[in-house]
Structure formats: C-alpha cells, structure tokens
C-alpha cells in the first residue's frame, strides 16, 4: 500500500485536497498514515496555544484617541473638496458682484452719486460677502498651519513621511491660488504676501514623492523657519478670524 505524503495529509487537515473521500478512505485503512495524520493534528492543536498579548479593556478608546487626529486630516480632506468648490464659487460671485458694481457705477454716474456714501443695503451685502470669504480663508490658513506644524515638529533625522499629506497639500495649493489672486485684486498686500510665501511650501509637499530624506526634510523645515512662515500664517489667520465678527473692523487685513 502506498502511503499518503505529508503534504497530502496537511491538505486533508485543511480540506484543501482534490479527492477528500479517497484520502479519508486510506486513513481509515492505514495505521501508519493515521498516526502521521494524528501527529500533524497534535502539532497544529499546539499552535492554537500561541499567546496573543492582552489589550486593556479600553483598547478601542486608546486606538480612537491615537487615530482621531489622523482621521481629522482625512476627514478634512474629504470635506475640503466641498470647501474648495465653495471657495471657487464664492470668489467668482465676489468678482461678479464687484464687476456688476463697477459697471453700474461707470455706466450710470447717477447711481454712483446716489450710492455714495453706500446705502445701508449695499453695506450689509458687502459685509456679508466679506464675512463668508473671511471664514473660508481662515479655514484655509488653519489647515495650512496644521500642515506646517506637522512638518516643523517632526524629527527630520529620520526623514519625513508626507504620503498621507500630499493629497491635502494639492487641494491647499489650489485654494491658496484662488485666495492669493483675490487678495492681490483687492490690494490686500499682507495676506497676498503670506499666501505667496505659503504656496511653494505647499507645492513642495504636494509634489514630494511621499517620503523626504533627512536632508530634504531639514531643508524644508529651514525654509519654513527662515520665512517665519508659521508665525505669519498665525497672525494673518488671527486677523481674518477677527473679521468673521459681524462688523468688519477697519485697519485690519481685508479681502
């Protein structure tokens, strides 16, 4: 009688053989193969003893706590697409409003005369328009600040993994351009300057291969430091968030 091979017995144990009935029949008739099969089963039963390190009762909580900020960035990425689209629409609406206003003033000087000083309705509309823009710019600056912080606070000696940030950086670059152009159009030099400084850094993150070498990471950190970028972003962010208040204050950054 030809005995079953070890491989056939292992396959039989996992029910992965082509003809289980034939193997079962042989095992029933052959003491040698049955002993060999039992030995395999005993070893595999022993493997079931492999210890799994215990986790605390609140392990799920611990996982969530560590995960939360990473999910935050992923969630923001999903929401950011909506925000970006909204920002573009708002910017277009803002320019259209400006164009309409300029066109009417130019073609109907009487309107200018009657509208100067601006009537309460126009002033309210302009303030509302500004408030919406301040909200999205502040959100953009906050997101950029978080990204800069992550780069600056990381230990560059081990390089920098930006894989999970690249997509978000691309979106920030796109929205950054819209806000920078809007700020330039409106003569808001301070905001335009900060956004202009921010753009190449965001671009570098967006175009990175995902992982920066220690030298590249250190160079990026140095660039952020040299321009005092984080500080500038914080200051402008604080100013624009101040503009979210119902009445825009004069003398502060405006858009």
């Amino acid at each position: 009688m030809q005995h079953l091979t070890e491989q056939e017995l292992v396959l039989h144990h996992y029910h992965d053989e082509d003809s289980p009935a034939a193997v079962a029949q042989h095992l029933a008739a052959c003491d040698v193969c049955r002993a060999e099969y039992n030995s395999i089963q005993r070893v595999l039963a022993l493997v079931d003893e492999i210890p799994i390190p215990q986790r605390a009762d609140n392990y799920g909580d611990q996982v969530w706590t560590r995960l939360r900020w990473r999910l935050g960035s992923a969630g923001r990425r999903r929401n950011w697409r909506t925000t970006l689209a909204a920002a573009a629409v708002l910017a277009v609406a803002f320019f259209a409003g400006e164009w309409w206003h300029a066109h009417n003033v130019a073609t109907h000087p009487s309107v200018m005369a009657s509208a100067s000083p601006a009537g309460p309705a126009e002033a309210t509309q302009a303030a509302a328009q500004n408030r919406i823009l301040f909200v999205v710019v502040t959100d953009h600056l906050d997101s950029s600040e978080r990204m800069l912080l992550q780069v600056v606070n990381s230990d560059s000696k081990g390089g920098l993994d930006l894989t999970s940030e690249r997509g978000r950086a691309e979106e920030l670059v796109a929205s950054n351009r819209i806000y920078r152009q809007t700020a330039e159009q409106h003569g808001d030099d301070r905001l335009a300057s900060v956004l202009s400084d921010l753009e190449p850094v965001l671009l570098e993150i967006a175009h990175s291969e995902g992982r920066l070498s220690p030298d590249e990471a250190a160079a990026l950190q140095k660039r952020i430091d040299a321009k005092g970028l984080l500080f500038k972003v914080r200051v402008v962010s604080a100013q624009t968030s101040g503009h979210e208040a119902p009445a825009a204050r004069k003398g502060m950054t405006s858009l």
């Binding site: 992965d16 005993r42 595999l44 996982v63 969530w64 999910l71 969630g75």
Partner: protein, 193 residues
C-alpha cells in the same frame, strides 16, 4: 454583520465620527488579533490596527452595506499587515527569532517532568512562539490566514500574489517547519500532562 453594525456603518458613511468611533471600539481587539498573528510583534500589530482603521475610514464610501463590515475590515487588516511586512522586507525572510534561544528553551522543557502544569503550558506557548518565528514571512502569512483565519487557499494566493498550488505548498512548508520545531514537545506534553 451585527444589526448594530449595519446602522453604525450607515451613520459612519454619512460622516458621523461618533459612529466610526463606535466601530473602532467594537473591532479593535479583533483587528489586533489578526495583526499580531501576522506580524508576531505587539508594536507592529498596534501600528497595523491604526492603519487599518485609517484605510477603512478613507474607503468607507466603497464599502457595500450588504457586505459584512467585520470581514471587510479583516481584509483591510490583512493587507495592512502584508504592507508592513513588505516595507520591512520581512516577507521573504525569517522573522529573526533567535535559534539558540529557541534551542535552549527546548532543552529546558524536557528537563523536569515534575514541573508545574501551568509552567509547562506557558513554556509550550513560548515554544510555539519561537517555532512561528522560524517561518518566513510568506509562510507565516499563508499559515496564519489558513489556520487561524480560515481563508480559502485561492484567496490566500490572491492576497500573496501567488498561484493556488504555490499557496498550498507555502502552507505545507510552514506546517512542516512547525512540526520539526514542535513535535518533540507534543510527545513530551502528551507524556507529562
């Protein structure tokens, strides 16, 4: 899928972070278990758990609600563990358990037939751990997926990017190595316990 999971997943897909938190809390331990069995390392397993939920969150939109969330999550965990093993170059080599230490532990086990049953049990577990560490990454992965996770060989083949027969052979190699390491203890434990 549990009824609670269906409703919770639905809420999570709608952007409810509390619902996703609930899923994390409910499934973390199970994900850790498969991650640990595959990586053989506690810290790596914790990393895999994190990465699994991060990927799950990003891919929630692709999850079909008729499917089983636990099964879907399990598949993500397996892929995350594989990615981690690949990134460490551990799939094609041994896990690096110290063979001398394993031999020493073997010598200890058969030395005292009067040892306490609990101690023996703990010792056997350490032998099993050492035996698992002697497997290559591919062998360990294929074995864990078949033996502990009950994954069909066809799927193991797909997961590892190998043919079905190669998957079967990899599992067989793993079992053979485990037998080589553990058979003496099977005999001694049968005698001693």
């Amino acid at each position: 899928m549990q009824t609670t999971d269906v409703a919770t997943v639905s809420r999570a897909r709608a952007g409810d972070s509390d619902a996703f938190r609930l899923l994390v809390e409910q499934h973390s331990r199970l994900v850790f278990r498969v991650a640990y069995r595959m990586t053989g390392n506690e810290h790596d397993a914790d990393d895999v758990v994190q990465e699994t939920f991060l990927r799950a969150f990003k891919q929630l939109g692709r999850f079909e609600e008729r499917a089983n969330f636990g099964t879907w999550l399990h598949r993500i965990a397996v892929n995350c563990a594989l990615d981690l093993l690949r990134s460490r170059g551990r799939l094609d080599r041994h896990y690096g358990g110290d063979p001398e230490e394993a031999e020493m532990m073997g010598a200890i086990s058969s030395s005292d037939p009067q040892q306490d049953r609990l101690l023996l049990s703990a010792e056997l577990r350490s032998h099993v751990t050492a035996a698992m560490e002697k497997l290559s990454g591919n062998e360990r992965t294929a074995f864990v997926l078949r033996h502990f996770e009950g994954m069909p060989v066809e799927e193991i083949g797909k997961t590892l990017g190998i043919q079905v027969n190669a998957a079967k052979h990899t599992i067989f190699r793993a079992v053979r190595k485990l037998r080589e390491s553990l058979e003496p203890f099977v005999r001694s434990s049968t005698c001693n316990i």
